[in-house]
């Protein structure tokens, strides 16, 4: 029997509240593409990606039309390139990067993730060559995203790698100075990087995964914001408590997740590819009404960054996970609320007002799913300070058994308060002030490792 109330509620969610599937990401294992020469390896890489993803974009679009739910991004993640090209020199890794970029272009995908190394415990000579190749690899490609996993709860933090990535971030920004340092927006440093995350720039196809899988990233900050507003209007603020709001978020997330899984499984079926996971993240875009920051305001802080913001993010993150986990057969990836400053207009506004500082963002990342994401900082912040900010963020992930990441963008030639804009989904924001610059050099100079926390010894 048709239930008109349920049907109209769903119509509202899809049509008026911007429900979409944020990303469908095809993960492809490239380890079997390794050949005797770099050229042959690159050829096999391009062939394999074309073989599996040749009709990927078209299929996603057909399924989106069939179900009337837009699929915003169609992307590819691959096996960490440092493993695919183990033993390559820096220049050879750059050839591999170009090959991955070509492969993405050939199948019509705008971003490919997985130019990645995992060095949380130590680095091989090949890993060092790989890390040295990252700035040029990203400069000579359009679609490639890179990431380095420098820490884990089980292995601790590789501080030699942390010191190196501070320079990588600076170099990436300086090489793309004419676009405000955009190169750094394609590079993420991780602790506990998941192998099934469909969201860029940190998507990879972990070695633990099947040959080819399809992961889906649902979103829906707009859907949650509109539902909460409606609930507050209908029921009355005075009649609601926070647990009622958490319950509403859970139920909305359930619906959003079910849609994502339905679409993902359909694409999977059409392509004959194994379905991986649904990532239950709230991923904002700069579009008005598609903001995680707005949810924080609805829940009671006038500006994001005001006291209470961390508690709200904790509740939001938890409710999203609880609603989504029941809705999906397989949940993975990052799964939680993203707070990327440049990509969320409400967060960017809070920076402009001076309400949101890096320190408060860092606190919020203790309870959300990712980390210091899309944070523009002054171009003159030194590499050691950047490494130290990254080390702090990695420590949060390591100790709390969760993923944390840092995507810092030192905008060349610009100071705190000046605006940087990358356009489109990458958004814009005032540059955030970094306090205590040039005070962490001795710490970063130690190198070595921060040992894994005591609670990691469970074996």
């Amino acid at each position: 029997m048709l239930r008109s109330d349920q049907i109209m509620a769903t119509v509202e969610m899809v049509q008026k509240e911007n429900l979409d599937v944020r990303t469908v990401t095809m993960g492809i294992n490239l380890l079997d593409c390794r050949q005797n020469t770099v050229e042959d390896t690159c050829k096999r890489v391009e062939e394999k990606i074309a073989r599996y993803a040749g009709t990927f974009v078209e299929t996603c679009e057909e399924v989106a039309v069939k179900y009337g739910i837009p699929v915003i991004n169609k992307r590819i993640s691959v096996t960490p390139a440092a493993l695919v090209g183990a033993g390559f020199t820096k220049d050879e890794f750059i050839l591999l990067a170009k090959s991955l970029d070509n492969a993405a272009e050939n199948v019509g995908v705008d971003i490919l993730g997985g130019f990645t190394a995992h060095v949380e415990k130590g680095m091989t000579a090949s890993d060092r060559e790989f890390m040295a190749s990252v700035p040029e690899a990203l400069a000579v490609t359009k679609r490639l995203c890179a990431s380095i996993n420098v820490g884990s709860s089980h292995k601790g933090i590789n501080m030699d790698a942390v010191a190196m990535v501070g320079h990588t971030v600076k170099e990436l920004a300086e090489q793309t100075a004419e676009s405000g340092g955009f190169g750094a927006a394609k590079f993420v440093v991780f602790c506990n990087q998941p192998g099934d995350n469909p969201f860029m720039a940190g998507a990879i196809h972990g070695v633990e995964e099947a040959d080819v899988v399809l992961n889906v990233g649902v979103s829906g900050p707009g859907v949650i914001a509109r539902s909460l507003e409606k609930m507050i209007n209908n029921v009355g603020r005075e009649n609601l408590k926070l647990d009622d709001i958490a319950e509403e978020i859970k139920q909305i997330t359930f619906r959003v997740t079910r849609c994502g899984e339905l679409i993902g499984r359909q694409v999977s079926k059409e392509l004959g590819i194994e379905f991986g996971v649904v990532d239950l993240s709230l991923a904002p875009t700069p579009k008005i009404g598609d903001s995680v920051g707005e949810i924080l305001q609805i829940l009671g802080v006038d500006d994001v960054g005001a006291p209470g913001s961390t508690a709200i993010v904790a509740m939001l993150n938890d409710a999203v996970k609880k609603g989504g986990i029941f809705a999906s057969k397989a949940v993975g990836g990052l799964s939680g609320a993203f707070i990327p400053v440049m990509e969320d207009s409400v967060l960017a506004d809070a920076v402009e007002k001076g309400a949101l500082t890096i320190e408060k963002l860092e606190a919020m990342t203790c309870v959300c799913s990712v980390g210091l994401d899309m944070v523009p900082i002054p171009g003159d912040v030194d590499a050691a300070t950047i490494s130290a900010i990254i080390a702090d963020e990695m420590a949060i992930g390591m100790v709390n058994n969760k993923t944390t990441a840092a995507r810092l963008i030192p905008v060349p030639g610009k100071m705190a308060g000046e605006i940087v804009s990358f356009g489109g989904l990458f958004g814009k924001s005032p540059i955030m002030e970094v306090r205590n610059v040039n005070k962490s050099g001795r710490f970063i100079a130690w190198g070595g490792r921060i040992p894994a926390p005591i609670h990691s010894f469970k074996n």
């Binding site: 048709l2 239930r3 008109s4 179900y67 009337g68 619906r255």
Partner: protein
């Protein structure tokens, strides 16, 4: 075959005891109740049921029995002997089942606008609910789009219709509603409701 089936449709102003009255008629005539559907719309109770009776029971006997129900409200019953295919009733919805919702300021002829559109496109309507609230008319059609070749063209035609008739029309796959509103439906969401 020593039994026969009847399709019985009953309408009455809603009151307590209607179901008891109907069930009593069937029981006293030694009938075996099969599928039944009931709803209340605008204070009026309607029920459709299928029941099996012995060969000696006729439409007239049942009509008389329903007429004898004592009540302040009039209970009207339509009774037809029929051969019912229960297997057909249990069939899953077609894979291409969609829901079209159309909303607009109330005026005469709105259901006809959509009805004509579906008929013109050889689309079978599987279920229909309409609601009028505060001069806003909402129509929800569950339709089988199996004959449709191009979803893009159909969406475009519906968009034109919506524009011309000043309606908000949304076409969504039935699975989306099942996925977002029902717990326990596996993939795909095409089980018979």
């Amino acid at each position: 075959m020593n039994s026969k089936q009847f399709v019985i449709s009953v309408m009455s102003k809603d009151r307590p005891g209607i179901i008891a009255d109907i069930a009593t008629v069937i029981y006293h005539n030694n009938g075996d109740l099969a599928d039944l559907n009931q709803s209340v719309l605008g204070g009026y109770f309607t029920m459709m049921l299928i029941a099996e009776f012995e060969q000696t029971v006729t439409e007239e006997i049942l009509k008389e029995a329903f007429a004898k129900i004592e009540s302040d409200t009039v209970l009207e019953a339509i009774i037809k002997e029929a051969v019912v295919d229960f297997e057909d009733a249990d069939k899953a919805l077609p894979g291409e089942t969609y829901v079209v919702t159309a909303q607009g300021k109330n005026r005469k002829g709105l259901v006809k606008v959509l009805g004509d559109f579906f008929y013109g496109n050889r689309i079978n309507v599987l279920d229909l609910v309409t609601v009028k609230r505060d001069e806003i008319y909402t129509m929800i059609f569950q339709v089988d789009l199996t004959p449709i070749v191009s979803m893009r063209e159909l969406r475009d035609e519906l968009a034109d219709l919506a524009k011309n008739e000043n309606l908000e029309v949304v076409l969504q796959h039935n699975d989306i509603y099942m996925a977002t509103n029902e717990v326990g439906t596996a993939y795909g969401f095409n089980q018979k409701k």
